[in-house]
């Protein structure tokens, strides 16, 4: 029996939100009530959340423990070969059904009172249901099929498993849209991913600061100095930002511009062409064309908390999990592909130095959210400004734009039910004028 009944979203905190996408109130990173409402309205609401990779539970009986927001979830492969997911919470008194991150199981028996579930999440047995010696036991009208963890709706896209607790949303193809689907297909389509490693990073900031950061192509060559410092040519790159219609998903990519490289026109303009710093071992950057095109970087996000990354030959997925107003868990899974040659695998290993908690181009992202979280302490009545590249959330050829960050907030205020308010601060704020705050 399908126990998926959707969710009743909690009431959105009574807040006014600026109509302009260029203003983001800082309370959204701080407010406990907002945080609680996000769990209901976003993570348990009508959105597809990334759960795990199909490659992590390939065989019947394999399972993988993950989360949708804060809610623990089990994803399984039943003997029928199909993928199932259900809340990892015993229907009896709420204990975790499975404690391991990964494993193989014929069924799941809760350690507390041994209630047993099959791989699809149906309750199949209750210990001492008949009592002992004719005494005790469950009431005669107790029906196993009425009790079980909530089951998730599942969608698999090129080996990425998404799930939702809601019936009120379109299927994944419609949710993602063609452009996003195409770009997932570009990296994962037609080949079998292999997990090369899993790492987790604890970020001292609100999850939305990381969601912003991932969509923020403006900061990339400013905060991350690795490439420019070592005189590695990054200016001969063409690229673009794609923002989907909802605003919530995005793709940022760049590609080698062969004409520019050939003419050396850009190479001569290296930001630090007189740099004395060079890599002692430049093999780190000797890569190969990832899927046969010239795109050397593609960062893709799916609202609310998923990222697929191709940075040269470093391919990874990231799962952003909120853990508190100023606490976020970021799960990294580094990928290779079954078709990799030994040399290609070696390149992936070397280039894994670019990403993750110790990554040359991403360690800064681990710290920067904390700098913002600390910076906005005491400023809950003030606003961030997002005016780079205009005030819309549209795709553009320039990556010097905050369009996809604005897109995130467009999707966010929609999913949270915040009503845009004309009285909230305008985009143009005088130099010394303090922002006015309007509250309902």
């Amino acid at each position: 029996m399908d126990r998926l009944t959707g969710t009743t979203a909690g009431r959105a905190p009574d807040r006014s939100w600026p109509r302009s996408l260029t203003r983001v109130p800082y309370w959204v990173f701080q407010d406990e009530a907002v945080y609680r409402a996000e769990q209901d309205r976003i993570f348990h609401g009508p959105h597809w959340s990334y759960l795990c990779l199909e490659a992590e539970f390939a065989e019947p009986g394999d399972f993988c423990a993950t989360f949708i927001g804060e809610q623990p979830v089990l994803v399984t492969r039943d003997v029928d070969g199909e993928v199932y997911a259900f809340e990892n919470r015993c229907a009896h008194r709420g204990a975790l059904i499975a404690m391991a991150d990964h494993g193989k199981a014929r069924d799941f028996t809760c350690v507390y009172h041994a209630w047993t579930y099959n791989l699809q999440g149906d309750l199949t047995a209750v210990a001492f249901a008949e009592g002992v010696g004719g005494k005790g036991g469950m009431p005669p009208n107790f029906c196993l099929s009425d009790h079980g963890p909530r089951k998730l709706r599942i969608a698999v896209v090129h080996g990425l498993v998404f799930g939702t607790l809601s019936n009120d949303l379109p299927d994944i193809e419609e949710y993602l849209g063609e452009e996003i689907l195409d770009r997932i297909d570009r990296v994962l389509g037609g080949r079998k991913p292999v997990v090369l490693g899993r790492f987790a990073q604890r970020l001292p900031n609100n999850w939305k600061l990381y969601a912003e950061n991932v969509r923020d192509s403006y900061h990339a060559s400013i905060l991350h100095l690795f490439f420019t410092t070592f005189g590695i040519n990054r200016l001969s790159q063409r690229g673009a930002i794609i923002v989907d219609e909802s605003g919530g998903h995005h793709v940022s990519y760049s590609a080698i511009d062969r004409t520019a490289v050939a003419s050396n026109e850009y190479r001569d303009q290296k930001i630090r062409s007189d740099s004395e710093y060079q890599l002692a071992d430049p093999s780190l950057l000797e890569g190969f064309s990832e899927v046969g095109d010239d795109v050397t970087l593609q960062i893709l996000s799916v609202y609310p908390g998923f990222v697929l990354q191709q940075i040269q030959n470093s391919v990874a997925v990231r799962q952003i999990l909120p853990r508190g107003t100023d606490d976020t868990l970021l799960n990294w899974t580094y990928l290779g592909f079954e078709s990799d040659t030994e040399e290609q695998r070696l390149v992936r290993m070397k280039q894994s130095n670019l990403v993750g908690p110790a990554g040359y181009v991403s360690m800064e992202d681990g710290g920067i959210g904390g700098f913002v979280q600390r910076g906005i302490a005491g400023a809950s009545d003030e606003y961030a400004t997002l005016q780079m590249g205009g005030d819309t959330a549209e795709s553009s050829e320039s990556r010097v734009t905050e369009a996809s960050v604005r897109g995130f907030w467009l999707a966010y205020r929609e999913s949270m039910g915040f009503v845009p308010d004309d009285d909230a601060p305008l985009p143009e704020i005088g130099k010394h004028e303090r922002t006015r705050v309007v509250r309902a």
């Binding site: 899993r198 002692a280 290993m349 993750g356 110790a358 800064e364």
Partner: protein, 154 residues
């Protein structure tokens, strides 16, 4: 000199080099062709090859140090390594495999002393005379979670 003594000595200097500097000397604890990787117990047990840091030459270790000094941006912090005794697992001539438990405390900015990482070094040393150089060091962290970021090596 006894391998155990040579390795314990090298490791004490290794820890001191990272904790008190100069960090530039850190690659010199390794042979030219080496393997250094920071991973987790879970990845290690499953045989997953990727690392948070992954290097197969001393040059890559030098690049790690120069990137930290010249390019990467992170809040200043210091480590204090506490190493246990190396357990010698195999010895054949100067080729020694050993394991050493560690924990590392971190002080970030003006903050408190935090327990940042615990784990073990899974090592292969080349011992010549009284000098022990790392051919391979796999830093196996007990926890899969890294707090904020990992800049300085372990």
């Amino acid at each position: 000199m006894d391998n155990q003594v040579a390795i314990a000595r090298a490791q004490a200097h290794y820890a001191r080099c990272i904790d008190d500097g100069p960090l530039e000397d850190w690659p010199m604890f390794f042979t030219e062709n080496c393997h250094y990787r920071v991973t987790t117990a879970d990845n290690y047990a499953r045989g997953l090859p990727a690392g948070l840091i992954w290097a197969d030459t001393r040059g890559m270790l030098k690049d790690r140090v120069s990137a930290l000094k010249e390019a990467n941006i992170y809040e200043p912090h210091v480590y204090r390594h506490m190493l246990g005794q190396p357990a010698i697992l195999t010895e054949s001539g100067g080729d020694v495999e050993s394991e050493t438990p560690f924990f590392v405390l971190r002080v970030t900015g003006g903050g408190p002393t935090d327990l940042f990482a615990s784990g073990r070094y899974v090592d292969r040393y080349r011992v010549e005379g009284d000098q022990a150089l790392l051919r391979e060091r796999v830093v196996v962290c007990d926890s899969k979670e890294i707090d904020t970021l990992l800049a300085l090596p372990l």
